[in-house]
């Protein structure tokens, strides 16, 4: 087989309820309770992660803590310690790097690995995944699940199948049979709306979807149609991108009490901006700010985002201007505010830098 066309070996590794696992590792007495990591309900926090005991009660990530406590009154809510999770995440990443440089982190607890060229474990991706999971459990003290397949899409779907603390392998020979029965809602990018649209077309599984012509799908779903056409056949040629770059950076806060009016919101802008600036200082200097944006969620849960061209200086007045305009769109008490910037990446190959007239 030619080197370029060799079948790839991709592992998707995903820790099991990561934040909760780290907390239970550090305080084993928590293991007997349903626990959730997140903000307190009286401060209107949301659940970031919860353990499997809590999931039995129907508690889920991104659920308001108040609602989670209604479902599960015994829930132990633990405030998260980001620094601790980041440290554990770095240790896990170092374990990945023992096998390959081609690691694409998706978040603190999730990553793709391309192990096509690995020689360890006689080159068996299945054995590598097992060894990695064992090592994470021994050295970091949390469990992880893995999916092994010939591309990112299938590996990601597979890692979910034997959770927690398990793995699932889709061999090239099994792809056709596997995708045939795979529900389309498992496809990353098929959310509620697309799933409903597909249901109306009588599509439940990827097998059903295969009956549709490419042009038909593009007509119905735009560019995503092309991707659906590939994915439902188990095709995904995206490479594992070891140095994926940031496109934006933002900070946001849900306030414990609604901010009643414009002046109340204005008072909160400086601290948000300080936070944004301090986060910005930590990113690579290759990133050049091109746009700034402001997001508001009103107390009726409608949200709006306004964006403008910007430069690195990010004066407070510029965000105040954005706020004034965004506030007009709802003109009611505000639940959440966020500030952010979008970048162009001077480190990106082929990128050109437009010089400014005024400095």
């Amino acid at each position: 087989m030619e080197p370029g066309s060799a079948i790839r070996k991709i592992i998707h590794c995903d820790c099991d309820c990561f934040y909760a696992a780290v907390e239970m590792r550090d305080d084993p007495s928590l293991r007997q309770y349903p626990i959730a990591i997140g903000g307190k309900s009286d401060r209107r926090g949301v659940v970031a992660t919860c353990n499997y005991k809590a999931r039995e009660y129907g508690v889920r990530s991104a659920m308001p803590t108040g609602q989670a406590l209604k479902l599960c009154p015994d829930l132990v809510v633990v405030p998260g310690t980001m620094a601790k999770y980041r440290e554990a995440s770095m240790k896990i990443r170092q374990i990945f790097y023992r096998y390959t440089d081609k690691v694409e982190p998706l978040s603190l607890d999730e990553a793709f690995l391309d192990v096509t060229e690995c020689t360890q474990c006689s080159g068996s991706a299945t054995l590598i995944a097992e060894e990695i999971r064992r090592t994470i459990a021994e050295e970091v003290g949390v469990t992880a699940s893995a999916g092994v397949a010939s591309n990112k899409f299938l590996a990601k779907v597979a890692s979910d199948l034997n959770k927690p603390d398990g793995q699932y392998v889709i061999t090239p020979q099994n792809i056709a049979a596997f995708v045939k029965q795979l529900e389309v809602k498992r496809i990353n990018g098929v959310g509620k709306v697309t799933n409903e649209k597909l249901s109306r077309l009588g599509v439940k599984t990827c097998g059903d979807l295969q009956a549709f012509e490419l042009l038909d799908l593009v007509d119905k779903f735009g560019v995503f149609g092309k991707r659906l056409h590939d994915l439902c056949r188990g095709i995904d040629n995206r490479p594992v991108n070891a140095n994926s770059r940031r496109k934006s950076l933002s900070v946001e806060r849900t306030y414990s009490g609604d901010l009643a009016d414009q002046p109340a919101c204005m008072l909160k802008l400086p601290e948000l901006l300080l936070e944004l600036r301090s986060r910005l200082r930590k990113v690579d200097s290759d990133y050049i700010v091109t746009k700034q944006f402001l997001k508001i969620k009103f107390n009726d849960f409608t949200s709006t985002t306004l964006e403008r061209a910007a430069t690195d200086s990010l004066p407070l007045e510029s965000f105040e201007g954005l706020f004034d305009e965004a506030w007009q769109r709802g003109a009611r008490p505000v639940r959440l505010m966020g500030l952010g910037v979008r970048f162009i990446d001077a480190g990106e190959p082929g990128r050109a830098l437009q010089l400014d007239l005024f400095d």
Binding site: A309, G350, A352, L353, Q354, L355, D356, L357
Partner: protein
């Protein structure tokens, strides 16, 4: 209120003002036009609170004076779809307006005229007359360089500077700049500056199309332009425009003259294979020729060479090709002159024969 006039007489002012009437409005009355009948003259007013345009028409019969507001979009659509030469009778009473033409009859909802906002007309500081066509040339020569939705809000507009017998327009988005001068009839001692908002500039350019003379009046917060059948008022942008004189390149030692159409076509072709996001083109200047090269992420390449008048050191410099094309598109003469110095300094572009407009383009580091 009651009057009648021809479809064409009514369409003209409606089409003049409809541009400022925004489709999505928080204030319902802003999607309406104000109709005012005074004698035999009908005034049609549209506003977005920043820019106000009044269009005028003479009615055939003025049966009852008055004023009322109706939906701009619907009223225009009705008039447009009536047959050519149709006579239109308009009347309003009890919160409803009636539009009758032949056997067609439309009843429209109205909002009271006294709720229609007007753009404040403060004191006028200066006033001058200028031919509409000259004003249009001035705007069209520069408006493409205005910023759009920039946080430096004063760049989302056009600077006007009035001095003795001269009106100067400047527009820049921070990467390139356009500057154009026109003669106008005014005795004035000191320089008067105003920043017109982007929307006002675009509307004004549509209005001042004809040969007639218009009267421009400027105050500290507003500008007003009166034509034969319209009146335009815009708030001014409150802010300090950057010192444009400082960025006009002065030390350029590499003078290049070439044929505008040839250069424009060559840049246009090269642009096809430039990076769609950054639009970068590499220019290699040598004795008698400009070579332009573009590459895209797919590793495709375009290369062009155009003969020019140039004798001097070689220079390699990158530009956003869209910025160069914008300039080559608004220039009108056959010849174009470029003045360059080095690969990180701006280029000055102007007509080879007419110095009334100059363009400054900052390079790209490719």
């Amino acid at each position: 209120m009651k009057f009648s006039l021809s479809r064409e007489a009514l369409l003209n002012p409606l089409q003049l003002v409809v541009g400022v009437v925004e489709r999505r409005q928080t204030l319902p009355i802003l999607s309406n036009v104000l109709l005012t009948l005074d004698g035999s003259r009908l005034a049609v007013t549209g506003t977005d609170l920043e820019v106000e345009i009044i269009g005028h028409a003479d009615v055939v019969s003025a049966d009852e004076a008055g004023e009322v507001t109706v939906s701009a979009r619907k009223f225009l659509d009705i008039c447009r779809s009536l047959p050519e030469g149709a006579n239109i009778k308009f009347s309003s009473s009890d919160g409803k307006a009636q539009v009758v033409s032949g056997r067609s009859r439309f009843t429209l909802a109205t909002l009271p005229a006294n709720e229609f906002p007007s753009v404040d007309n403060g004191e006028n500081n200066i006033q001058f007359d200028i031919a509409g066509v000259i004003l249009k040339n001035l705007i069209d020569a520069t408006s493409f360089a205005m910023a759009q939705q920039d946080v430096r809000y004063y760049l989302n507009g056009m600077l006007w500077e009035v001095s003795a017998n001269k009106l100067r327009a400047v527009a820049t988005d921070g990467h390139r700049m356009a500057l154009c001068d026109a003669e106008c009839n005014i005795e004035i001692g000191e320089l008067t500056k105003a920043i017109l908002p982007r929307k006002g500039v675009i509307e004004l350019s549509r209005l001042v199309a004809d040969e007639g003379v218009v009267r421009v009046a400027m105050g500290s917060n507003h500008i007003r332009v009166d034509g034969s059948d319209y009146c335009f008022t815009s708030k001014l942008v409150d802010g300090a425009y950057p010192d444009y004189d400082r960025v006009l390149p002065k030390g350029g030692d590499k003078l290049v003259e070439g044929n505008r159409a040839e250069l424009k076509q060559a840049f246009g072709r090269t642009a096809i294979l430039s990076n769609e996001k950054y639009r970068g083109v590499r220019i290699m200047l040598s004795n008698g020729a400009i070579k332009m090269v573009a590459n895209n992420p797919e590793q495709e390449e375009a290369e062009e060479e155009v003969g020019v008048d140039y004798a001097g050191d070689e220079l390699e410099i990158g530009f956003n090709v869209s910025y160069l094309l914008d300039v080559l598109n608004v220039l009108k003469g056959d010849g174009v002159r470029l003045t360059l110095s080095d690969s990180s300094s701006s280029a000055l572009v102007e007509d080879a024969a007419d110095g009334s407009a100059v363009y400054v383009v900052m390079p790209m580091r490719l």
